[in-house]
Amino acid sequence: MDVAVADRLQFAFTIMFHYLFPIGTMGLAPFIAWYTLKAWRASDEEAAKIAAFWTKIFAINFAAGVVTGIPMEFQFGTNWAAFSAKAGGVVGQPLAMEGVYAFFLESIFLGILLYGKRAVPPALHALSAVLVCLGSWLSGFFIVVTDAWMQHPVGYSIAREGRIEMQNLAAVLLSPFALWQYLHVMVAALVAGAFIVAGVGAYYLLSNREAQIGQRLVRAGLITGFIFSALTIFPTGDRNSADVTEYQPIKLAAMEGLFNSTNGAPLAIIGIPDVHAKQLIDPIFVPSALSFLAYGNFEANVKGLTAYATELWPPVELTYYAYHVMVGLGTIFLAVTAIGVLLLLWRAAVYRSRWLLWLLMLLMPLPYIANEAGWTVSEVGRQPWIIYGLMRTNEGISSNVASGETIFTLIGFLGMYFLLGVIFLYLTLREISLGVER
């Protein structure tokens, strides 16, 4: 196998598996902070139980996230040595900052949250929940900043031996590209958190247990799910698209399956990209909508893939499908939560609508797919670049690691993560079935 392909497969697998857990921690942490604060300020016994319940699930997520996160930190060195040697001066820095600013915060205060309830005063216990949340969100920030720099490099200079160095840390940390991407990622994780909360609440209501807590969870999940679903689309999703349109037009064309440059380009709702024939099979179009979304003008010219050399194309099918899966699911989330909120306002009918509760319960895994699909658009769509416009992906690999070695370790990761995944699901489902009231 081509070495670069083996390296990419390993990275894709390990990062996608790892990311399942940060979705859970970043998505649930704000709920835990909210319920913990409520329990502390309002002496709300029920909120304390809910907070303790989600903290248990958070802790399982956190442990799996740490365990699968360690290889990520070092994989740049093991499999992407040329990339690391060249760009480590920039990308190493947010990663180092993630360690010292975010991980310490999260892990130390999670220790308090889990072990220290009796050892510390209640105020510090409540503060710990907030700091754990802050830690997980900061951690996401530094990761997105690193990725955003690879998508749209800023604030760097080229030094001896072609090494890329940090010239302006603030420009890297505060790049508008990074900030909108960060907001989009975090809001999307919150949608996942909201659907978990609502889904578990729906499960309790459907199984006729813990009715009061079930209602509380469904209500919280629906309201936050509705707000954050809307925010994934506007303004965060919209601003992300605008950045892609401006800085990565080839990715935009691949996302939309647009092969030929067109004035008043239509938006493909569905369709099958045929890369060899350079066309979309069986499409359903909204006329001129793509031009409007990209440039705010129904007549604008949108460049298609054929305007660029084929070697600059990302894998078109994967980018296209991942994007459409993400957008399709996002639309479903907004629609379902909107209906749910309406039923909530209309005489709390939502708690009696078994079909909606079923829907909420079954939808639980889908935000995970939407999150992963979004990252797939971002990362696969960036190809063939590892740093957009500066370094090709196949130039970034470790030249001294054979594909056989990488395939061996990939198999090892597959086995280990399979085991971990089974145990994770088992433990999480067991916590849910044990219930909030113990």
């Binding site: 990663l95 180092a96 360690g99 600013y101 050892a119 470790s398």
Partner: protein
């Protein structure tokens, strides 16, 4: 500026070794000091609130190495690909064992994870020790600073010796920590075990120290001359003093004093190791292609930014960790009853 970065990085690694040392050490000696299931549970519980935060020091040090010395980060981790991935897997196993043991009240489940906990932790100490031994010894590198040898090269007698010293010393630290945190029979057994362990550490320490000096003797002599005789002599005296202080502390069952002495001993050993390595991050043997701190770091201005960002973060961390962790050692919270 490169020197400052080297010092910060070495300090972060030293803090990691000392802090995660007690987690790993507790795991390594658990089969010897805990007989019943509840005693083994207590030994995991003793490190429960800490191990994760301690492991972050390794992740932070990895990040700092990446940011301060990208070339060394790239060369070291890709060069020692398989051993390094095995370290990662062991780290993962240790974490999984710690997290999962308590979730299921069955004898078989507990036994299995206790076994994984001890084996992965002990292997980790050994691998870290062997890695350090190889760094001190030097490894064959090509002109780009990439590793040229095989597994067999890495398992040389000197590196294995350092590995054994590491296992013994960390186990001793673990014994002291058990005395500090656990009440009853395990603490008594740990104190008893510490004495023979101490003698083994002393023997291994003397052997490894002599081997380190006699290896590449002329280079070592030149290095000693460059530092002046004061620093190496001082380190030997200080580390021996800390070790001997530990002996008396173990005899008198003074848990805190024993723990701090072993930590100080470890600290001095690591300072000595860093001083031996300097100015290399990855020395080569036969010499010539080693990666030095000046070669591997970005320009001073870029490095300064990275240093400031990391040091500021560390200061904040030390402040809150220093506020929070002592709580676990206050009266009533310190001792765990099995």
């Amino acid at each position: 500026m490169s020197i400052a970065a080297f010092i910060i990085l070495a300090a972060m690694i030293a803090v990691y070794v000392i802090l995660d040392g007690f987690d790993l050490g507790v795991a390594a000696i658990t089969p010897f000091i805990a007989r019943s299931e509840s005693e083994r549970a207590a030994s995991m519980h003793a490190i429960g609130p800490f191990w994760n935060g301690n492991e972050v020091w390794l992740i932070a040090a990895g990040g700092a190495l990446f940011a301060f010395f990208p070339k060394a980060y790239a060369s070291a981790f890709s060069g020692f690909y398989l051993p390094f991935i095995i370290v990662l897997w062991m780290l993962m196993f240790r974490g999984i064992a710690l997290e999962l043991r308590g979730h299921f009240p069955t004898r078989i489940w507990h036994d299995f994870w206790d076994f994984c906990f001890t084996v992965s932790s002990t292997l980790l100490i050994l691998l870290f020790g062997v890695a350090l031994g190889n760094l001190l010894h030097g490894v064959p590198l090509d002109t780009n600073g990439y590793f040229l040898g095989t597994f067999g090269v890495l398992l040389n007698p000197y590196a294995l010796g350092v590995g054994i010293l590491a296992v013994l010393t960390i186990a001793l630290e673990g014994a002291a920590f058990i005395m500090l945190r656990i009440d009853g029979a395990p603490a008594v057994r740990a104190a008893k075990l510490a004495i023979p362990l101490w003698w083994l550490v002393l023997i291994a320490y003397v052997a490894v120290t002599i081997a380190t000096f006699s290896m590449h003797f002329s280079e070592r002599l030149a290095q000693t001359a460059a530092y002046g005789a004061i620093l190496p002599g001082m380190l030997i005296v200080l580390s021996l003093a800390a070790l001997i202080a530990g002996y008396f502390a173990f005899i008198r069952k003074a848990a805190w004093f024993a723990f701090l002495s072993v930590c100080a001993f470890l600290g001095f050993l690591l300072v000595a190791a860093a001083a031996t390595l300097y100015p290399y991050l990855l020395p080569s043997f036969p010499s010539g292609n080693g990666i030095s701190i000046f070669d591997a770091s970005p320009s001073p201005a870029a490095l300064l930014t990275a240093l400031v960002a990391v040091i500021a973060g560390l200061c904040i961390t030390i402040i809150y960790a220093g506020t929070v962790f002592p709580r676990f050692f206050e009266k009533g919270n310190r001792l765990i009853k099995p």
